[in-house]
């Protein structure tokens, strides 16, 4: 019973027949599917966003996720800016005018990378004082200093000026303990986590679905044995099993996916088996059988297609779970090799620097994990109520 659904069939058909555009069709989905539709759409939009992110990662990520590009622990939105000396009334030159110049960089800071990347020659100096003096004396033509210090420095040295913003750089989400750009790591990390979750869900469905089909269809001893094994694994804290497997298999994308997939095989098995048991009793299966269809044909052409809707739902919910489990494994230190950008690994790194107040290292990866997992959950939940309306509570 749905209060918001139209009362008469005439009304429904009128709404269905209406020639409406794609966007409005999505907006009106509620009419056919109830309010669950919105949950599905919200989830779907999140998934669409993440998928775009994985596809467009090279375009979206400003830097290489593994490259040490800046000073460590740069807060979000902060970065380095380029300063030049301006003598007299001359306006500050623009970036294009100052090619082929010498850049002064600080020793322990990553200005060297910046200078190399911009094809400048560079001189190293011990500290910022020397850097500023060198700039004033004309030894170098350009220096990089931290963005937050710029106003202070400009106040103390009135004949310096900031060049074109483009020459300096700021990091939208800050940098981590090694000076890697967090926004780039987030963008590339989406590929990793989706890859692991998708691979593990595929693996567990490849094993779980056939087992469920056979068990439900064959019945008898096969069914009882398989059910007992699957129920035992199902009742066990999955993360622990994944931990044991991941610890033994060692780091690696496929290894983590395998470790996670084992704990979700029973989920697919149980759902498929349950569905097969009820479909097996339906009239059209009886009809097919009495017409002389082979068992394998019945399973393939009559039962399997009807299992698909539930499998789709479980698949989506399973990916959500796998994402959280994968992040958990990485957090414990059982994830991927360190050269693969991974949100869970970034969180475990951020854990060490939390008390010092580097909040940006843990906040952003965590938000992303939650968002993606919630996206798959919402999508699956909404879908399940749309596909199995009798279960709607």
């Amino acid at each position: 019973m749905n209060i918001s659904s139209p009362n008469t069939t005439a009304q429904t058909s009128k709404l269905v027949d209406e020639n409406i555009g794609f966007v409005r069709r999505i907006w009106r989905g509620r009419i056919w599917y109830g309010t669950e539709w919105y949950i599905t759409v919200i989830g779907g939009l999140i998934l669409l966003g993440v998928t775009m992110m994985t596809i467009l990662a090279p375009v979206l990520a400003p830097y290489d996720p593994n490259e040490f590009i800046g000073a460590p622990f740069t807060p979000p939105g902060r970065g380095q800016q380029a300063l030049v000396s301006r003598t007299g009334e001359n306006p500050v030159p623009s970036a294009s005018e100052i090619t082929d110049e010498v850049v002064g960089v600080q020793r322990n800071q990553n200005g060297v990378n910046l200078a190399k990347e911009l094809n400048y020659e560079y001189e190293r100096y011990q500290n910022q004082e020397e850097l500023l003096t060198a700039l004033e004396n004309g030894e170098v033509d350009l220096i990089f200093i931290n963005q937050e210090l710029v106003p202070e420095v400009l106040g103390a040295y009135p004949n310096l000026g900031v060049v074109d913003e483009k020459l300096g750089r700021s990091y939208r989400l800050g940098t981590d303990n090694l000076g890697r750009d967090i926004s780039s790591r987030i963008v590339w990390g989406a590929r990793t986590i989706l890859g692991v979750a998708l691979a593990s869900a595929l693996l567990s469905s490849f094993v779980g679905i056939p087992l469920g089909l056979i068990s439900g269809f064959a019945g008898g001893k096969v069914d009882r044995t398989l059910s007992l094994v699957m129920d035992s694994i199902y009742s066990f804290p999955g993360l622990l099993l994944a931990i044991a497997l991941a610890a033994m298999l060692g780091p690696g994308l496929l290894n983590v996916a395998v470790a996670i997939s084992v704990i979700y095989i029973p989920t697919f098995y149980r759902v498929v088996r349950g569905q097969v048991l009820s479909i097996k009793e339906s009239l059209y299966v009886d009809a097919a059988r009495s017409l002389g269809a082979k068992s394998s044909n019945i399973l393939r052409r009559y039962i399997f297609p009807n299992v698909i809707p539930s499998v789709v739902v479980v698949f989506s919910l399973n990916i959500a779970d796998a994402i959280i489990t994968a992040a958990g494994l990485a957090f414990i230190g059982l994830g991927l090799p360190p050269d693969i950008p991974d949100w869970g690994y970034d969180l475990s790194k951020g854990h060490s620097f939390l008390v010092a107040g580097q909040w940006w290292m843990i906040t952003f990866p965590g938000i992303m994990i939650t968002l993606v997992a919630a996206g798959f959950s919402l999508f699956g939940e909404g879908l399940s109520e749309i596909l199995n309306p009798r279960l709607v509570k």
Binding site: T35, S232, G328, I332, I362, P365, K393
Partner: protein, 340 residues
């Protein structure tokens, strides 16, 4: 005790045995069949052949696999998980040291899960399809999509590091650890009450707040949904309609008559959350440096001590099986319709 009940309990216990056996077998073979020699893994690369051989002999790894397996199974029956590799301590003793911390964390988390879950679940069921219902449902989905350790990290950062209200890690402040004469249950809060040591009690509670909220809230996400579904079942029953027809005040009807009847399945479900609770405890303990079983597991992975790892995992399995057995038997007592 009726014969039906006796039969039910008997069958239920019988069913638990193969379940545990399967789990022990799976864990045993997972830790062995997978490529990689434990002796090499523990002694690291570069150990001499004699060292490896003597280590294998000491740990019984030179025996054929099936003999190792039966030896291990017969140990598990006596709750003997063998000796820890590297240090000569029985695994069971290690487990006994770390277990009370996990129990304490689990109890307080359960309290939070139950109170949050039952309240919001019942409210959502009562106001079905209202804005509050959708709000509660979406927030419960988001709650259980939260990586448990991330919620912990954020709470640590906000309430521990930034505001400085609560301790960030551990069970007690340094120097507060009670002596052996004060240890009765190993649960610091309970021991403190029994010894009337209120300073210790306050310290233990302060350390418990963040970890138990972390674990409790994430589980509450799932539990809210379960409560809501169960309450909806109950609210569709005839006696609720009958009560409504008699003009019983709606709130009394829902929260007294309805909730009371939904309580049995709800408590059962709470018992069945133990697997999730323990899985969550591993991550919570890692986040908060909480010296419990989960931390033992993680530490022994770093040490590559597979004997302790295997023992701890099987101990987890025994607890899960034990709790679900107890819950099912209690359920059988309370509801005479549940019989084999």
């Amino acid at each position: 005790m009726s014969p039906g009940l006796r039969r039910y309990i008997f069958v239920r216990i019988l069913l638990t045995i193969p379940m545990v056996l399967i789990l022990v077998t799976v864990v045993f073979f997972v830790l062995r069949v997978i490529p990689g020699d434990p002796a090499v893994a523990i002694l690291r690369e570069g150990a001499s052949e004699e060292q490896l051989a003597s280590f294998r002999a000491a740990a019984g790894l030179d025996q054929p696999l099936h003999i190792q397996y039966f030896r291990y199974i017969s140990g598990v029956v006596r709750l003997d998980f063998g000796e820890a590799m590297k240090r000569s301590v029985p695994v069971m003793q290690e487990i006994r040291t770390f277990f009370p911390a996990t129990v304490e964390l689990a109890i307080y988390s359960m309290l939070i899960t139950a109170s949050v879950g039952i309240f919001f679940g019942a409210y959502a069921a009562h106001n079905r399809k209202s804005a509050a219902d959708y709000g509660i449902r979406i927030s419960s989905i988001i709650l259980y999509s939260l990586p448990i350790f991330w919620l912990g990290l954020m709470l640590q950062m906000i309430f521990g590091a930034q505001l400085g209200w609560l301790p960030v890690s551990g069970r007690l402040s340094p120097g507060m650890t009670p002596g052996p004469e004060e240890t009765i249950t190993g649960l610091y809060t309970i021991d403190a009450i029994l010894n009337r040591n209120w300073v210790l009690f306050k310290d233990a509670i302060l350390h418990l707040i963040l970890p138990s909220i972390t674990l409790g809230l994430v589980l509450a996400g799932i539990f809210t949904r379960l409560t809501r579904a169960n309450m909806l079942d109950v609210l569709e029953q005839d006696y609720i309609t009958a009560g409504r027809a008699r003009g019983i005040w709606e709130r009394v009807l829902v929260y007294r008559h309805g909730l009371r009847n939904a309580f049995i399945p709800i408590v059962t479900l709470l018992g069945l959350q133990v697997a999730l609770l323990l899985a969550g405890a591993i991550l919570t303990e890692t986040t908060f440096s909480w010296p419990g079983l989960g931390r033992l597991v993680v530490q022994r992975i770093y040490d590559r001590d597979f004997a302790t790892l295997q023992g701890a995992i099987i101990f987890f399995a025994l607890i899960v099986a034990g709790v679900s057995l107890i819950v099912d038997i209690l359920y059988g007592f309370l509801d005479p319709r549940i019989r084999y």
